[in-house]
Amino acid sequence: MQRRDFLQLAGAGALTVPMFGRPMAGWNGALTPIATADKKLLADTALAAARGAGATYADVRIGRYLNQFIQSRERKIQGVTNTESFGCGVRVIANGTWGFAATNDVSVDGIARAARQAVAIAKADARLQTEPVKLAAQSGQGEKSWKTPMEKSGFDVPLQEKADLLLATADAALTNGADYVNALIFLVNEQKYFASTDGSYIDQDVHRIWPTFTVTAVDQTSGKFETRDSFSSPMGMGWEYMSARPAGKVVTPAGATVYGTYYDMVEDARNAAKEARAKHTAKSVEAGKWDVVLDPSHLWLTIHESVGHPLELDRVLGYEANYAGTSFATLDKWRSGSFKYGSENVTLVADKTQPHALGSVGWDDEGVPTKRWDLVTKGTLKNYQAIRDQVHVLGQNESHGCCYADSWSSVQFQRMPNVSLEPGTAPVTPEQLVSGVEKGIYIVGDGSYSIDQQRYNFQFGGQLFYEIANGKITGMLKDVAYQSNTQEFWNACTALCDRRDYRLGGSFFDGKGQPGQVSAVSHGAVTTRFNGVNVINTARRI
């Protein structure tokens, strides 16, 4: 029996054979994508059930989420795992209140039941509602599709090739001074179908890739160990990211090699081993005020924490007060039109369309076409990140298109788009930037990170630290972390390189919400200088 026939029969109430709530017969779904037409039929069933139960708005997401992890430890492949999760989530507005229900029973009956449950939840909570949901208008998009632009999906690459790459990575590290190396190739594919009562039916096929490792170099005599994490970045790309094409390689003024759009995992492991070993003899930093020069492999995380999060409108409004926190970037500061988030050099943009970036899609998870917009223009706070039920607060009538759910079983909400620092307009290379620094620290790679719940006070570490004296890199430092205040820090931004140096960093695991959800997001930057930053020494004895 074809799946379509089964659905029609089931829809007529003729055939459901429950096995723990799941249909038994005619199901061809396992480990196989289902046809778009079938998803449309199921989605329409959910939308009709929600409407029938009293919803004034409903959307449904039918999602198949695939991951592949291949892990290695030294020269051993320790795990090959494929994960697959399939189900649907229905979100409704009833009596001015949101309700949500999700099930892995993706049958006509199952999806309708979830829709009715979502409406019942909304109605149960409506009596507590003092701020009925106001949705920005969104035109129906009709039937649309989008796929991550890529040359080749990582899922289509033979396992042997991936395993061989991890083994070569291990070999490069272990023969160049590392005692241990843990590595991972992590592939993600979100196949998600969205439909809403606005008349949108959107099928998207989203791919991400993240190769990563940590090498450790032990000094048995002193009992000390040093590590160096990979300089790869998670990307919204296919296997071409792993191609080690020369166009991806950047040699920093400190000599450390970092990567842009293409990554050389084996070369990076070789360098990491040598650099982890070199850390043992690096000079311990003297605490105090230093100018810091931050490579994009480091700066992305500072942008993420001190710009991306505080400008999430749900935080500003208090919706995240119980978990991620609120924000110092309050509405009165924005309304003033003159809040100096940073210096004149600082322009920060949100962009859900940027090539290779993790957060880029065609439509967000409430059917809004994605776009790019300014958050901070030449230092002045201009806008936030907002979705359909929030933009009215800003006096705007169009969602920014940054709504996301990490699974079919999670309710979608405002998530950070790709947020990036615009490059400088004058031609400046990293070498030229360093040459102007009298007393500074050049930081490569992201390390420890922590920031308060309103995003004022932060502390960041890194992977590699180099001392700059009178415009020259003089050697490696260790035990470095810098502490600052967001507004103070961005106003201390005195110089940036130009677009030639632009690279993306990012994370698969931006956490927010209750129940907690993750989101993948990228942040672009160029090598950037900040003056007079407070650096602490992190060495301790236990």
Binding site: G29, A30, L31, T32, K76, G79, V80, T81, N82, E84, S85, F86, T97, W98, F100, A102, T103, N104, R113, Q117, I121, A122, A124, D125, R127, L128, T130, A163, L167, D179, V218, Q220, G223, K224, F225, L317, G318, A321, N322, G325, F328, S409, F413, S448, S450, D452, Q453, Q454, R455, N457, Q459, G461, D479, A481, Q483, Q514, P515, R540, R541, I542
Partner: protein, 439 residues
């Protein structure tokens, strides 16, 4: 709709998988969860939902080659494809010399962590809890943001060597942040229970409200080393982080806070104040857990730190075989011994100190020394001559639990926090490194 499977149904489903297996061995884990939640903020409900899912993990191996597949669809065809794919992955995977293969049947303790009142919770009950919480805040000119989540779960495991394990549990987590409407004060409380009958969301919300009101008009004091009183919510993550780092392999390999110069580990050495004893017990009635781990090993009562001495480290099965020791798994809860007094008693006996009610955004700075950074949040107070004098601005700290637990001044009676039992504690010379403007 009733959720879930009985033990018999779970066993039958997993047996179907094992019968499909053509591999040398096969292992199946099955985890089911039905849950409901309500989230509120700005004194009104924001989102609420219900989820149910059952996830299966199938691991097949040929010799030391293994492949793992997860799925959440259980038709015959789905299971056949998943088993076949796990076998295909196993055939393609290189040999892993550390692969241990499935274990034979183990003996497990009987623990009780499933309670009908939690399993039977409804959307209306959750809404009423949220309403009571909001009311507590509103009555004091404050705003509540909170989250209630409950779950009814089961876990099962079976393998081709005849091992079978089963557990079912319920849980409820409640937390609320109450902020004064002028934005200058904030208080937080979190509670977790297996049995919802033990949870009083309204009472917890009143405490959060009191903290919010009391934390207004915070004064800045210089960062530096201070005597601190840490509520369990302020210390639990640091203590958990330390426990997670008590793996034997890292210590043996020279990359742990428990590694010694020249090789060897600090097992058996006194690293902490002699009042520090940390145990674990899946059968503890206050913090019950399943009695087995995801790889089928039995969890038993264990002592990790005894009167300041490191007594045990945890092992993977492979590393235990290499070292010819019992393969003790990592703990499923932490039970830190304390005194008999209360938090209030600790405060009353403090001449000068800082009361920290919550910490936040804790991250590793140096794995060698277990140095962590993080911040205080939602109510930090200056204590003088046995009384809370005034609120203080939040601090960033850089501190190691190893140093901190050498500086114990006094311990109160342990309370449940995030599935562990941790006492309120007073510590000397806790290191605050900067001030935060955050409220």
């Amino acid at each position: 709709m009733s959720f879930g499977m009985t033990e018999t149904q779970a066993r039958e489903l997993m047996q179907r998988v094992l019968r499909l297996s053509k591999a040398d061995a096969c292992e199946v884990n099955l985890n089911g969860n039905a849950g409901g939640n309500v989230r509120y903020a700005r004194n009104t409900v924001s989102t609420a939902g219900a989820q149910e899912d059952v996830q299966m993990v199938i691991q097949s191996n040929f010799g030391k080659r293994s492949g793992t597949v997860t799925l959440n669809e259980f038709t015959d065809e789905s299971l056949q494809r998943a088993v076949a794919r796990s076998e295909e992955l196993a055939r393609l995977a290189p040999e892993d010399p550390e692969f241990m293969g499935p274990m034979e049947q183990q003996q497990y303790m009987k623990t009780t962590s499933w309670f009908q009142p939690t399993a039977g919770l409804t959307a209306e009950q959750r809404a009423r809890a949220a309403e009571a919480s909001i009311q507590a805040a509103k009555s004091k000119d404050c705003t509540a943001a909170g989250f209630w989540q409950d779950n009814d779960s089961f876990a099962a495991m079976a393998n081709s060597k005849g091992l079978f394990a089963w557990d079912k549990s319920t849980g409820v987590n409640f937390s609320v942040t109450v902020r004064t409407n002028d934005g200058t004060g904030s208080g937080y409380v979190t509670r977790d229970e297996n049995d919802v009958s033990k949870l009083d969301a309204a009472a917890a919300s009143r405490i959060a409200t009191e903290k919010a009101v009391a934390s207004k008009e915070a004064r800045a004091i210089e960062p530096g080393k201070y005597t601190v009183i840490l509520e369990p919510e302020a210390s639990v993550e640091l203590i958990q982080n330390m426990a997670f780092n008590m793996g034997a392999r890292g210590a043996d390999e020279g990359r742990s806070f428990l590694s010694k110069p020249g090789g060897g580990t600090k097992l058996g050495e006194k690293l902490f104040d002699e009042r520090l004893t940390i145990t674990s017990d899946p059968g503890n009635a206050e913090v019950p857990t399943a009695a087995w781990t995801g790889d089928g090993r039995a969890l038993k009562p264990m002592t990790w730190i005894d009167k300041g001495v490191v007594k045990n480290l945890f092992y993977s099965r492979y590393w235990a075989r290499e070292k010819n020791v019992e393969a003790t798994p990592a703990p499923s809860n932490l039970i830190m011994a304390g005194g008999t007094g209360s938090l209030e008693d600790l405060i009353r006996d403090t001449r000068r100190g800082i009361l920290v009610t919550r910490t936040w955004y804790i991250r590793t700075v140096d794995p060698q020394t277990l140095l962590y950074t993080g911040l205080t949040r939602d109510g930090t107070f200056y204590v003088e001559n046995g009384r809370i004098k005034h609120a203080v601005k939040n601090f960033r700290f850089n501190e190691s639990p190893v140093i901190m637990l050498n500086n114990i001044d006094a311990l109160a009676k342990p309370v449940r926090i995030r599935g562990n039992l941790i006492p309120p504690m007073r510590l000397r010379d806790f290191t605050f490194t900067s001030l935060s403007d955050a409220v």
